[in-house]
Every structure is written in structure tokens, then in C-alpha cells.
Amino acid sequence: MSRNPAVAALVGNPNAGKSALFNALTGARQKIANYPGVTVERKAGRLLLPSGEPVELVDLPGSYSLDATSPDEEVTRKVIMGEQDGQARPDVIVLVLDSSNLEQHLVFAQEVIELGRPTVVALNMVDLAERDGLTIDPAALQTALGVPVIPTVAVRRRGLVELAAAIGEARDRAQASAAVPRPHVTLPERRMLAHQIASAAILSETTKHRIHARLDKVLLHPWAGPPILFALLFVVFQAVFSWATPFADGIEALVGALGDFAKQILPAGLARDLLTEGVIAGVGSVVVFLPQIVILFFFILLMEATGYMARAAFLMDRLMAGVGLSGRSFIPLLSSFACAIPGIMATRSITDPKDRLTTILIAPMMTCSARLPVYAVIIAAFIPNRAVGPGIGLQGLVLFCLYVAGIIGAMGVALVLRRSVTKGAASGFIMELPKYQLPTVKDLALGLWQRAWIFLRRAGTMIFTVTIALWILLNFPRAEPGQDQINASVAGTLANGLSVVLEPIGFNRDMSLAIIPAMAAREVAVSSLATTYAVGAEDEEQAALALGDQLKSRWTLPMALAFLAWFVFAPQCLSTIAVARRETNGWKWPAFMLAYLFALAYVAAGITFWTATAAGLG
């Protein structure tokens, strides 16, 4: 009757390889959004059945049980039960099991199968099980579970056609007969059954040397593990700076050529200036940082895909416990290095509410990728590009220090918060360490593409709009001949007002001007400075100077350092505030976050400016 496509949901334990299977089944045609009312990510895509009929496939958060212990698991339960707003009850449940972890995964599997709904089992990662010396009999498993079992290897696209066919058949059966719930059994019974079923289905089991055990011997080693983690993080930040340079230079040249081209073909006038000074200089100065953002996300996705991220959480747990958090907070905080928004959303996996609130409040202090353009342009202009050791550049070192400053600040704030406003019982840390896996190029590429696209879309929409608005505010009202255009403009008047507050910490008018539109998105500070200096240039020659040279001729080193210190702490991003409001269900905590971060930014910038000035760096 209804011509709506059927809905199938991927369900399974965490680390069952659901996301890889989802990517393999739906390809790049995915829609990522949020479930209404909660910020649990809803990933949906289209799967074509062998009959050519489309099915909407939904990837549900990994769960250990239908008795939810986190908001993530709650969504999984609600969707399966058909209680989730904005989501039709799935017609078919696709249970994803990790073959090499069969006994464990069969516990949750039984709970789902008991519901009596049309279910298909994807016996995933059979190749890894074989690598571990396991041979499994899918037919025996199918008999024991009473639902179709399809062996799959998502990353090698094995078993996908068979799985799609089984989904189609299950859907047809569902239309023919109603769900028949099976008798409910207790957890110990289920566990016993899981053991029996798994033992019967496993044909042979040899204890080969498992690769992950050997890797863990090194990576979780009490003394070797933490230095390896820190070395790895250091390499990431060096790479962000040095690998990106040729690509960034290329984009910069392209933007410059585009501006020159526009100047040649268009008649001189305000319209041309809007295009060259506003659009091209502004948006271009942000797009230049795409390579760095892609590199940073590359490493974060790589750590997630290989399973190292959970090891990092293990290694960091004791340190996090020192400030009243747990290793679980490490993953959201590390994600916040890319962007605080997914970072804050990732706190949903933290079960303790106080723990979670603290993590949300400190997440904006992790240096997100939007700060990178600001840091990069200032560092490139003011910090000499020389080596301070083998393979260690001074610029990379300064960047590293800025990241560390954010981390130390966050830890300090967490310590204070956990003893005051978010006081509560010490939180625990329980988490599965998944098997190591070689990431697939396709999954990595897809993840990178999604991130890069979000960044470019932001550059094309929000940053574009803000830049144009700023250009207009900078150019009107027009200055009298001989008068400074910026001082005469609306934006200049505002900035001059703000300067009264910001002058004591070393900010000049242009810096005050840059931090207003940067509330929309931090990287706008760069395009604002670019636009401001393009508008304010006294002659063609000065206007042609690169932004870095402009800054060098107008700012002192203490001013530049103060600006960097401001950006380490300042809550310069409305989207983050909005997400924090949604996650904490009200304005109380976002308001608190805004207030303490601005206070911290002001003090940090001030101390930096005064210290640097006293040290004679000016």
C-alpha cells in the first residue's frame, strides 16, 4: 500500500564493523542528520535490493543490550521498538555480529531475535576470524538462531549481494505474517546459550598468535605506551603544518590569480572591490586551510578506524582521573581538536552525567581546526621558520605549544569544575578495546570527503555571507577624502568602541574588528583581517601585499602572541554554543561556558601581552 521504501536497521555490538558494512552497502549516498530532540547522529543511506527496489538503511549506535545505559543505546532501543520520533519502525533488523567475537555478540543478538521481528544476521569480518584461526559454520549458526545468517566481509564487499537478497526476503516474509515474540530468557541463560551456540558453530579454533595481542604488548606497555602516544600526537601536529604547505601554497596562488583575473576583466569600482576584496580575498584566505584540516581529520579518522583511539583512552584514563574525568572523555576531547561540535556530540557515550557536563564545558578549549587558519597565518607571519632540533621546526613547536596551552587550560578548568559546580561521585571507566584493523582506503576517503565538504560548504555559505557583510560595514559610510576609511565605517566605529576594553591586553583596532565576526566562526578572523587590510590599503602596492606581510608591518610580536592566546580560550563559535545548549537542555550551561571562556581568554591574552612586552619582544 504505502509506497514509502522499506526501512532496514543495522544493529549490533560496538566494534562489530557496522559502519564499514553500512558504507559498503550504501556507498557514498548517505544522509547524516540528528534524531529530533536528541543529538544522536542518524546515518541513513539507500540500499538497492536485487529486485531493484530501494530500501532505506539506518545505521544505529552500537549497543550491548536493549537495557540502555547511555543516550546512544537509548536511541537504538527506541528505533528498534518503533518509539523514536522521526523514524519509522524498521521492517527488517540486520544484526551485525563480529565473527571473531561470536560468543559475546550472541548475547545481544538473542535479545534482539527474541523480539520476533524479521531479522537477518550478518556474520561480519569472517576474514579476521580466519586470521585468528577460527572457522565458523554459518549453517549451524542459522539453525541455532532460527534466522538467516549471511557471512560478510564488508571491507572486501564479500556477501553483500547475498545480504541484500536476505533483507528483501525477510521484508516479504514480514508482510506475510505478524511478529511472533519468542520466550524471554534471563541474562545468565542467554549467556549460557551464547556459549553453547558459539561452541557448536565454531568448527575449529587454533590459538594463533593474534596480531592485536602483540601490538598491545607494545602500545599498552606501561612505559612504552604513553611516550608512543605523545610522539604520535606530536607527529600529527608537525604533519599538519609541513605536509600541507605545498597544497596551501597552490591554493593561495590560485586565489591570487583569480583576484588578478577579476581585476583585469572588471571595470574599477565598488562592485569589483566587493568581489576582489570581499569575496575572493575573504573566502580564499579560509579555503587555503583546507589541506591542513584534511590532514588533521585524516589522522583522527585513522586512529579511530585502526582501533588505536580506544588504546589512547586507556593510556589517558589515569591522567584524566587526576582531574576527575575518565579515559572516555579523551575521545570526545580528541575529536574536539577537529571540531568541538562532533566532540560535544561524542560525549553521549559518557554515562555519568556530571562527567559528561564537565567534558562538554571544556571541549571548546581543545584547539579545533577552525582555529588553525588563525594560528597558521599569525605563526607564519611572526615566528621565524627555522629548525630548533632535528626534524623540529620552531613554527611547528609554537603550534604544538598552543595546543598544549588549550589542554592544560582544559585540565585546570575540569579540576576546578569537578570540585565545585559539577561535583559528584568519581566516575568510572569501562570500555571495550576493539581489535586492531587495517583501515580501508574507501572508508577513510569517504570520511575525509564528508569533513572536507562540510568545511567548504561553510566557507561557501556562512563565511561568504559574513565576509560580504563585513566588507559592506567596512566601506560605508564612505570616508571623506584624506580620512581613514576604516575609522569612518560602521565596523570601524564598533571596533573603536570595543578597543577601550581590549586595548589593555594589547589589541589594536583591527584585532578588535576581527574578533566580532569571528563569533560566527573562528576562521572568519583571518578573512576579516584580509578584507580589512584590503579595504584599508592606501595604494595598490600595499593592497597587493600578502596578509602575512600586512600583519608584520602593522602588529608587534607581543600583539600577535596576545591574539594567539585569545584564540586558545575564547568561545568564538556560535555553533558550539548552540550544540552545548541542545546537549545540556537549556541556556544555563552555555551561558556559564561563554562567561568563563571569555574571562579566561582576556586574562590569558593580557598576561601574554604584558609578559612579552616586559621581556622586550616588542
Binding site: E103, R191, L220
Partner: protein, 85 residues
């Protein structure tokens, strides 16, 4: 002996769990992961920093990280290593 006192890489069985010593959600999560009476476990890694926290426990083919406070609630007995194990 409790789980946190178990020597590394020594097969053991969880004999009893004092669930009352744990927060309800954490107890539920540990059970969901299979850490319950009767489960066979080995202690694989300890953290490096003060208190040698957290711990990594192998159960079946899974490795689970947990804190010493959780391990302290679990009484274990070592099982003699047999060739078939």
C-alpha cells in the same frame, strides 16, 4: 583474591561479584560485557601511572578496560592451566 590483585596473564574465574559496591549503570555495563560470576578472565595490562590504573582484562576474545575500583568488587580464583585451555 580480587581481580585487581591477580598476577598478569594468569587464567582465572570470577567466583563472586559484590554488585552493591558498584554504581548501578556500571554494574549493568560490566554484566553486558560478560564480566559476571563464572566468567573466565585474565589480566592483560595495567596502566603505568600512580595506582597502576586502569586495567585491561581479557574475556573470551575481547579486551575490556576497567578501573581498579571495579576489579576490586570481583573475587577471582586462578584456574590451573590445562593443555586444552
Amino acid at each position: 583474591m580480587t581481580l585487581d590483585q591477580l598476577p598478569l596473564n594468569t587464567p582465572a574465574r570470577i567466583a563472586a561479584v559484590d554488585w552493591s559496591a558498584l554504581v548501578a549503570e556500571e554494574a549493568q555495563r560490566l554484566q553486558a560485557l560478560g564480566l559476571d560470576e563464572g566468567a573466565r578472565v585474565t589480566l592483560a595490562y595495567r596502566g603505568v601511572f600512580a595506582g597502576r590504573d586502569p586495567l585491561a582484562v581479557e574475556i573470551g576474545r575481547m579486551t575490556i578496560a576497567l578501573r581498579r575500583v571495579h576489579a576490586r568488587a570481583m573475587t577471582v580464583e586462578t584456574i590451573a592451566e590445562t593443555l586444552s585451555a
